[in-house]
Amino acid sequence: MIEVKSVEKKYARKKILKGVSFTANKGEITCLIGINGVGKTTILNAIMALTPINKGQILIDGEPLTKNSFEKITFIPDTITMLPHMKIAEAMEFMNDFYTCWNQERANELLGFFRLDPNERISSLSKGNTAKVNLLLGLALDVDYVLMDEPFSGIDMFSREDIANVFTSHLIENRGVIITTHEVGDIEHLIDKVVLLDDGIVRKEFSAEQARENEGKSVIDVMREVYQR
């Protein structure tokens, strides 16, 4: 379980996170929803210790993050972090050198799944394929937790479907996933838990299926209620 406890974060004088708390379970897909600028990416960065926090605590399976945690949790940012002149195959080699938990078998499977050519250069890929390579590099790690920043933004509908298919496959099964998004529409049925963020705080944390079962509300219905002011 990833526990985010009363996390506060300031950039200069501007408070971005004003005491954010939520949990994300293993074996579940947790979706952080909020409009641009509410601090979704900052939360992911904070979980990965890529940015210092001013207050609060973040625990992964009950322990604070250490350098060994990076074999247990990975972050797929919204832009690719590999050098543009690298071929996909070289990027995979790079990951293999860097992480002991790199799983080449799974990487090959993902190549097939996304119909990618390992000899293509990263700089020559379309936006959709770049996103897929980015996802491949993260998902081929044998980690318990995967954080994804806006995996669906700015991507054509067929690539979105490909990516959404990953979520229903064994590639994700049993892992804990946190994804951020501002458009929930086509992934409503894929997510277990929803965390609604607004202005640096968590406005509501709920199970998508429970909202449907107990209140007959879709995720979007709940969002409308929470965000309407």
Partner: protein
């Protein structure tokens, strides 16, 4: 297995309903093997946890059964299977009656109309 889920009913119940409909029209035969939970999640594009829950619900209702290390199967129990059809039928009729009642039509006229429409459309239904 293309299912159009609505966003307001629990997805697992919508899956159970899909199976019930298939059973009622004979698309799924008694004792027939059904996909694994993971496969179902993948085909229906739903969360694997939801597929798991749907199967658990169907097991509890006695619609499917799973023996150790074997794929799940549709039950062969005639009573349970018969109930599925009755249940779906009752539900559909209830819905129809509710919406028709507001129009306040005499039952004879309604039945004639149902007969005409039902036989006319019968061929097109799959």
């Amino acid at each position: 297995m293309n299912v159009n889920f609505n966003n307001r009913d629990p997805v697992y119940l919508q899956i159970v309903r899909y199976f019930k409909e298939k059973i009622a029209v004979g698309g799924l035969k008694p004792g027939e093997e059904i996909p694994s939970r993971r496969e179902l999640a993948n085909r229906m594009k739903v969360n694997p946890n939801t597929a798991q829950r749907a199967y658990k619900e169907m097991e509890e209702q006695g619609l499917i059964y799973t023996e150790k290390n074997h794929p799940s199967r549709i039950t062969s129990d005639k009573v349970t299977l018969g109930k599925v059809r009755d249940e779906l039928l009752a539900e559909a009729v209830d819905m129809f009656v509710t919406s028709v009642r507001s129009i306040n039509v005499p039952v004879e006229e309604l039945l004639d109309l149902v007969k005409v429409k039902y036989t006319a459309n019968g061929d097109k239904e799959d």
